[in-house]
Amino acid sequence: MPPTSDDPDKARRFREAALPHLDDVYTLARYLLRDASDAEDAVQECYLRALKHFDSYRGPAMKPWLFAILRNVCNAEYARRAHRPSALEDTPGAAEQTPIWQESEASPETEVLRSRDAGAIRKLIEALAEPFKETFVLREINNLSYREIAETVGAPIGTVMSRLARARALLRAAWTAEEEQAK
């Protein structure tokens, strides 16, 4: 058989293994990059790289593997931004104005029960400093175990635990500070 014939099969296996995690990968990219269109570019680049290395992929689980690739892409993006610092600051509201990712808003009744709506909490999380934000999102939103987080970010589990504790303490402090202001 010609060597090209296994490409569609590889693509099919890759599609079945990697595409179910697209929302997870995009979610992490949104929190890390704080910008909808940068996140889209990063996720696309992540999937291209993942496909390229899919033959040599032997684990860990697919989701942490994709996250680890996305982190590398995002680090390159951070470096790019560092050279062009004005790129982000010029359009602070752009991400929020992009309607395409907007979830259905919580109904007024449930908003009374919650101290913050999703948009406000997302902003608080986005504002967390690295590496605390990354650890927090991987655990609380992407539902990774401590071991998987450790594999994804390449740090010992003890480091993951202290970062997570710090992230939650920072988030709660920011949260209560906002509530004080609102009074």
Binding site: P8, R15, E16, Y26, V43, R58, I121, Y146, M161, W175
Partner: protein, 254 residues
């Protein structure tokens, strides 16, 4: 335990990441420390609010489409060139498939292809709502459920006492045939045990292969082919197969 340690470990307690011994230590500290107890309560409350809030983003359809388009795919809208190539290759393959000759052509790749199908079926089962058609930890519920749906009902054996919890059963398709999948859990890990009928009654010893990060252990026994697939380690999967085989032998002889 100091408060500094407890302030870190209480998060692991909240996340169910502590073993029983450490959990008891943290709980003991918190029971005697109002400050840490208040912190745990506050963090638990925050976690509850966060869990009730949708903090996830949904990837735009345009992004999904862009990624899909970057993957080579035979079914995609054919360009003029790929139509020509399709005549050269695709139609030849489908003509072969129609005559059944493709089975012979592909025979040597069969095992690899079926392994890939088994892993794909395992992956599909992990998507929300796809794991089980019948949910039960009782083998006497799962076993009759398969009857009438398949030519041969797979052996359903409860291995909860051996550390592998039976969670249910499912119909799946491997090699274009309906086959039974019996679903087990080890901690949070899913094990799919696929069972299909085979004409060969000889015993084929278990063999482990790895694909896409999943371990697959396959063997043959009494006219049945088995594939156990999971992301647990190869040693644990071998343990599962051993326990299953032992229990099945006991069932047959007992």
């Amino acid at each position: 335990m100091t408060c500094d340690e407890a302030r870190i470990l209480l998060h692991a307690l909240l996340d169910n990441e502590l073993d029983a011994g450490h959990a008891r230590e943290v709980e003991a500290h918190i029971a005697g420390c109002p400050g840490c107890a208040a912190e745990l309560a506050a963090q638990r409350e925050m976690q509850r609010v966060l869990a009730d809030t949708n903090l996830r983003y949904t990837a735009p359809a345009s992004l999904r489409a862009r990624i899909e388009a970057s993957l080579p795919e035979p079914q995609r809208q054919p360009s003029r060139r790929s139509v020509l190539r399709g005549f050269a290759m695709g139609s030849a393959v489908s003509a072969l498939a129609a005559t059944g000759i493709v089975a012979i052509v592909l025979r040597q790749d069969d095992q690899q292809r079926i392994l890939s199908e088994v892993v794909s079926a395992h992956l599909r089962s992990l998507q929300a709502g796809h794991l089980t058609d019948v949910i039960s930890t009782d083998q006497h519920t799962v076993k009759p459920w398969f009857n009438g749906k398949l030519d041969v009902a797979p052996p359903v054996i409860d291995l909860t006492a051996q550390g592998f919890t039976l969670v249910g059963g499912r119909l799946d398709y491997i090699d274009a045939r309906a086959i039974g999948a019996v679903v087990y859990k080890r901690r949070q890990h899913v094990i799919n045990l696929f069972v299909s009928q085979t004409s060969s009654t000889e015993h084929r010893p278990p063999k482990t292969q790895t694909m896409q990060g999943f371990n697959c252990r396959r063997w043959g026994e009494r006219g049945l082919n088995f594939w156990a697939v999971s992301d647990i380690g190869a040693d644990e999967l071998a343990e599962f197969v051993d326990k299953f085989e032992t229990a099945m032998k006991a069932n047959v002889e007992g």
